[in-house]
């Protein structure tokens, strides 16, 4: 991949030995660069993860303590319960819908920002994030006002005759999730569109004549890393979201996020909470790995 051009002045004969050594040095550099994060994540993530992972096989004491001497698979088996699968399925649909809408809204938006002059670009980007430096809870309460009986969204809906009060319904949850996770889609999309090689887009314009075709054939594939990263950053957190659904949706249907939190808190059933979490992580990781195996590209 990384081929050194022969130096025109002082041509060195490239022997296999030299190449191998250069390659080894290169690998070593790559490894060294990753070491700090690697070590950090092993100590502060992998090890703690194992500590909680073992609880998947524990049982719950009468008072809600996880007991480890009584190893069993009860909690793991409960993952096959139809009630649980129903909750999981519902959450996946909601997260998927959130991701798709975020992508559709964020792409043209990021494209617009990325094609401004450099200074404007940075300002526009920072102004995307500023609202999210206010407090999460009061932000959500503000949405409650907007979606409530006298809220502007309700007024608009009633004026158009399309919808009534959205607060405490699923659409309200969806709006809240999109609001919360849209920046997660914008950031990586912006980062990858801003870097596009515009001469390629130009060439495509000349080649395909129509704008949409050039977009589909060149711009879109080139910004794929951003699309993938953004989708991951939106899909996964919205799968686990629970405060927004509780406040805006009225907590009338259980979602995966509430269910897990409930196991760790109200039910004090750490074994079940742990096994659900482990299952989610394994499924997600496998899905990503399979995706990249079949797609043949790393992020």
């Amino acid at each position: 991949m990384k081929r050194r051009l022969p130096d025109p002045v002082e041509a060195v004969e490239v022997t296999p030995d030299l190449e191998r050594r250069a390659e080894r040095a290169e690998r070593w550099r790559g490894f060294r660069l990753a070491v700090p994060a690697y070590v950090y994540l092993i100590v502060l993530f992998a090890v703690p993860l194992v500590l909680v992972g073992v609880y998947s096989f524990a049982s719950r004491s009468r008072t809600g303590q996880p007991l480890l001497h009584d190893w069993n698979l009860d909690s793991v088996k409960r993952l096959a319960d139809s009630a649980f699968l129903q909750i999981a399925w519902r959450s996946i649909l909601l997260a998927l819908l959130t991701t798709i809408i975020c992508l559709v809204v964020a792409y043209p938006f990021s494209y617009y920002i990325a094609t401004r002059s450099e200074r404007t670009r940075n300002v526009l980007l920072v102004f995307v994030m500023i609202p999210f430096w206010s407090n999460f809870l009061v932000r959500t309460y503000a949405w409650k006002v907007l979606l409530g009986a006298d809220g502007i969204f309700t007024r608009i809906g009633e004026a158009l005759g399309l919808w009534g009060q959205l607060l405490f319904t699923m659409p309200a949850v969806l709006i809240g999730l999109i609001y919360g996770f849209l920046p997660f889609m914008v950031l990586p999309l912006y980062a990858s569109i801003e870097r596009l090689d515009w001469s390629l887009v130009e060439a495509a314009r000349d080649l395909y004549a129509t704008g949409p075709k050039a977009f589909r054939r060149v711009t879109l594939p080139l910004s794929r890393p951003g699309i993938i990263a953004g989708s991951i950053l939106v899909f996964i957190p919205s799968l686990g979201a629970y405060v927004t659904p509780d406040i805006l949706g009225g907590a009338k249907t259980t979602l995966l996020g509430n269910y897990i939190v409930n196991q760790f808190l109200a039910a004090r059933n750490w074994p079940l909470g742990s096994s659900i979490s482990m299952a989610i992580m394994i499924v997600m990781l496998l899905a990503t790995v399979l995706y990249f195996r079949s797609g043949g590209r790393t992020l």
């Binding site: 700090p36 500590l51 094609t115 920046p183 990858s192 090689d197 897990i260 990781l285 790393t298």
Partner: protein, 274 residues
Amino acid sequence: MTTGRDRSMTTRRLDRILAGHSALVYLFFYLPLAVLVFFSFNDSRFANRWEGFTLDWYRAIPKDQALMNSVKNSLIIALESTAVATVLGTMAALSLERYKKWLGKRTFDALLYLPVIIPDVTMAVMLLIFFTQINQALGLTTIILSHIAFNISFVAIVVRARVSNLDPSLEEAASDLYASRWKSFRKVTLPLILPGVLGGALLALTLSLDDVVITSFVQGPGATPLAVEVFARIKRGVTPIINAVSTLMLVASILLILGSLLIQRRQGSATRGG
């Protein structure tokens, strides 16, 4: 960027549509914020009934020690964890995208994803268990360490979206040009990936300021940040004093950003002039 591009009618029309769309998106972003700011002046402790204008909530801020303390904690936690996570996350992203397969790369790749995938509460419980097992007293340190742990991954994901497909020939030319690797990184690679790094840092900062679940498990006496403080106040109802604090923080960050832009502009013209 746009020079030499075909400025046809359709392009211009498309640009206008995009501008309109973006304006709507910004409206969507700032609409709840307008509500939030509006109710910070509300003469009632409830956020859903307008009872008249007052500045009392702003006056009450300096007197609310717990609140002031939590804002200070939030800033310390957010800035420190963002700085560390941005550096580590960027290095991780470069290593994964720019270097050939090194031993353990696959495992690292997977490990880097897990903090994004794991449910908040599970990460909270595991870190709590971990810190107590190693006898680390709960407090600011444990909060910062935890925030770095999840932020590294978020930074890395955003930076990777930027680094992949970067034209490697530029860097090679640079390493031929500059003797030291560090210099070629600083002069060529960093400017190229900077938008990604900036995006990653912004995301990390936001996540740190917003985190409630993990922080509430690993916090110790007196080390509560704002987000958790607000959550604890839910029981009695969150008063507009939180809106007032949020408003002040928004104003401060906007001023900070405008200020730094001004300085940048002045420096820019100074170097050009000299």
